[in-house]
C-alpha cells in the first residue's frame, strides 16, 4: 500500500496540519517508507487472535462520578494563550 501526494494533503487536512507544497514530496516518500515497513505485519497469521489494548489485559477502571480535586479556573486559564473575562477567545465561528 502506498499513498500519493494528494492523499498526504488529505491526511494533513484531517489532522489539521498544513503540509507546505515544498515539503509534500519528502513527506510522501518518508510516509511510504514507513508504510512499507509496517506492511511486514501482513506476514503474521492472526486468525482467531484477539487484539490487545492493555498489555496486562486489564479493563479500564471506573470510579464514582464525583469531583475529587479541582484546579481553580483562574489557574487553568493562566495557561490559555488568549483569555478574557474568564473566557477562552477563539475566532468567530457563527456569522
Amino acid at each position: 500500500m502506498t499513498v500519493t501526494e494528494e492523499e498526504i494533503t488529505t491526511l494533513g487536512k484531517l489532522s489539521r496540519i498544513a503540509i507546505a507544497k515544498e515539503d509534500l514530496d519528502s513527506y510522501t516518500k518518508q510516509i511510504n517508507l514507513i508504510l512499507k515497513l509496517v506492511s511486514e505485519l501482513n506476514k503474521a497469521k492472526t486468525d482467531n487472535i484477539s487484539p490487545i489494548s492493555h498489555p496486562l489485559d486489564l479493563k479500564a477502571r471506573l470510579r464514582k462520578d464525583i469531583v475529587l480535586e479541582d484546579i481553580p479556573l483562574e489557574e487553568k486559564q493562566k495557561c490559555g494563550p488568549e483569555v478574557e473575562n474568564d473566557l477562552y477567545m477563539v475566532p468567530k465561528v457563527i456569522d
Binding site: 498544513a18 511486514e40 498489555p55 493562566k78 494563550p81
Partner: protein
Amino acid sequence: MDDSFPKEILKISDGLKKRKFSSVEITKEYLRRIKAYDREINSFITICEETAIESALEADKRIAKGAAGTLAGIPYANKDLFCTKDILTTCGSRMLSNFFPPYDAEIISRAKENSLVMLGKTNMDEFAMGSSNETSYFGAVKNPWDLRKVPGGSSGGSAAAVIANLTPLATGTDTGGSIRQPSAFCGVSGLKPTYGRISRYGMVAFASSLDQAGIIGHSAADLAFFLNIIAGFDPKDSTCIEKPTEDYSRNLNFPLQGIKFGLPKEFFKTELNSGLQQIFANAISLVEKLGGKIVDINLPHSSLSIPAYYVIAPAECSSNLARYDGIRFGHRAPNTSNIEELYEKTRSEGFGAEVKRRVLIGTYALSSGYYDEYYTKAQKVRRLIKNDFSEAYKSVDFILSPTTPTTAFPLNEKTDDPTLMYLQDIFTIPASLAGLPAISIPAGLDKGLPVGLQIIGDYFQEARMLGVANKIQQTTDWHKLTPKSNSEKKL
C-alpha cells in the same frame, strides 16, 4: 565534581544524615556543574536554581529534625514531559514552549513528599518521538562521551545529564526504548518498570498503551531506592496497576545461582559489529560465572515488533495530540480569521517534522477502511508478541540481549530515512509491546563508546531484575566508567 561529594545515592544520603555536607551545598555544586558544562551538552531545557535551593533548605530542616527518608535532600532532574506546577514543561516542543502547568505530575508530587530536590527539566525528543534527541525544539543533546555523537532518545537529556555528573538521578519515560536506548548510549543504568507500575498522571501523553515512566541513574541500586518512592497505585491514572509495591532494594544481593537467562535466537539475526558481539559475549560469560544458566529461547514474532509499534504508537499519538488546538494551552498561531485556520496554523507551526509524520501515519492507520488492516492487525500481532514472552518465561527467569544494535551514532546521520532510526529500537520494542519491565546497564566500551546490556523480566519482577543488575555491578566496574576516565576530557 568536588571530591567531598559522593555520587552514589546511599552515600549521599549517609553524608546528609551525618551532616558531612548539607543538601544546599550539594545542590549548589550540581547547579555549578550544570552551568559550567551544560552549554556544550544541552541536556537541560530549564534549570530551577531558585526553587532547587528553596527545596534543599527545606530538606535540610527535615533531615535535622530526623524526619527524613532515604532520598531526602538528594538532587535529581525531571524529563521535561512531567508536568511541574508553575515550572515550564515543554515536552521538547514549540507547541508547549509557553506551558506552565497548574499541577504536578504524580511522580513529582511523590518526589516532593520525600524532599528530593529538583535541579531542572531535561531535554528530550519532541513529544518523546525519536531515538537521537535531535527532534527537540530546543536543540540536540550531545553525548558527553563524544560531542559529535547523539545521546540516544527520547530521554537523551536525562541520560546525558547523569553520565556528565550534572545530576545523580533523572526521570525518563519509555514508550519503545526511550529510557533504555539513551542509557545504553550514555553508559548509565535505566529502568522501564512494568506497564502501569508508576502513575502516568501528569505525564504528557504520546502513546498511552505503551508510555511508562522510569528512572535513569548511575547504578541499579540507585534506581531501586528511587523506585521505592515513585512506584505504586494512583487512582488518577486509570491504567495504573492496583497491586501493592514492595521494597525494591530488598533483593540487591540476589544470588544468580541456578537462575535461568534466556537468549532469544531471533534477536541475534540482527547484525552486530564484532566489538558489540564481544562485549555481549563477555557479559554472558560473567552471568554464567556468577552461577546463572544460559538457555536459548525463541520469540518467533519479535521481528514484527517494529512494524506493530509503528502502527500502534502513531495511531495513539494522532489521537493524543489532537488536544493541541491553540485554545486552552500551548502555542497559538497569531492572526487567524477562522477556527479551522487557527487549528491548522497552530499545529503546523507548533509541531516539528517527526511529530507531523507520526500524526499523519496515525491518522491514516485509524481512518475508515484502514482501521482493521493496520490498527487491529497490529494489536493482534502485539498479542502474539506478548504470548511469545509468556511461553519463554515458562522456562527462564530473565531474558538478556544487547540494548541497541549499535553504539551512539553521529549527529545528523539518520535523519533522511525515518525507518533507519526506527531500527535503533529493535531490541527494546518487544518488551514495550508486552508491557514487561526491562533495564539497560553498562557492559563496557566499544571504541570508546558505551554498550548496554538489556535484562527483561517477567511482570512485576523489578526487585529481582534490579538484583541481577546489581550483582553484575558488584562484580564489574562498567557502570563506573565515565567520559573523564575514558579520555582526559574534564567532566
